[in-house]
Structures are given as structure tokens and as C-alpha cells.
Homo-oligomer: 82 residues x 2
């Protein structure tokens, strides 16, 4: 199992409720790919969302985000953590 | 106190020891600005480092990273978290 950070851009002015709804859409289907989205952080002024996830591959993370309606190709595999 | 994610680019091939050393350089001086660097994650293939921090301002985070020798202008204020 690997750890990933993915980055979404263009989420300007997204509210807390909208972030929760997007995160719950991921959680609802994440088991299909063996992924777990642990945390998500939003900077609504910069339109950036960061998601920390575990899963078997970068593609598995991308597929869940695709199906949940917020695709991103920017997914980093985090092999070192402090 | 606010929460920030900052992103460093170009850290290709950085090792775990090097990430620890960079993080410890931040920790050694972070109190000067009232900042705390909580976690850091590295993707050595993509050359990306993500740091999660708390502090009084984006500028305070930038000043610590500058002084520690790894400046970045890419610092996001995370006003929403799930």
C-alpha cells in the first residue's frame, strides 16, 4: 500500500460543505479500488485542494476521483514522510 | 493561527535522510516566527515536497523556509479541512 498526495486546481470559492460533499463522494466508492482518502485541505482563494490518500497505485486514486466527479492528473506518490 | 500547505519543486532524487535534515533545519528555527512544521512528504521521482504547517501568516512560513535554505513561494492557506 502506498501513500499519495493529489492536487486539484480551479476550486475557487468552494465552501466547507462542498468540500465535505466531495470528500464523502470519494469515501462512498473508494473501497472499489482499495483506496482510502484520509484527509483533504482547501485553499478557496487559490482554488487548491490537497488530498492525502493510501492505495495500491496512482491510477486507483485517479479512478475514484474521476468517478466522484472531480478528476485530477496531479497525483504524487509519497515514498518518504517525516 | 492558520494552517498552510507549501509545495517545493525540483527535489528530484532526494533521500529520506536529506528530507529529515531539511525538516530539522526548519524545526530548529521555526519558533522565531511562531511557525510549526507538522509533517513533510516527498515524491523523489516528481521532485515534490509538501509541508503541512501552522503559523501566523504565509510570510512567516516562507521566511523560515528561506532561512533554512529551501525557499518556496508556493504556500497555500488551508481554511477548510476534512
Amino acid at each position: 500500500m502506498a501513500t499519495f498526495m493529489d492536487v486539484h486546481s480551479g476550486f475557487f470559492g468552494v465552501t466547507a460543505d462542498q468540500l465535505v460533499a466531495a470528500h464523502e463522494a470519494d469515501l462512498a466508492i473508494e473501497k472499489d479500488e482499495g483506496v482510502h482518502f484520509e484527509r483533504a485541505w482547501l485553499d478557496p482563494e487559490a482554488g487548491k485542494v490537497f488530498c492525502l490518500a493510501t492505495g495500491p497505485s496512482r491510477e486507483s486514486v485517479m479512478r475514484i476521483h474521476d468517478r466522484a466527479g472531480h478528476p485530477t492528473a496531479e497525483v504524487y506518490e509519497l515514498t518518504v514522510e517525516v
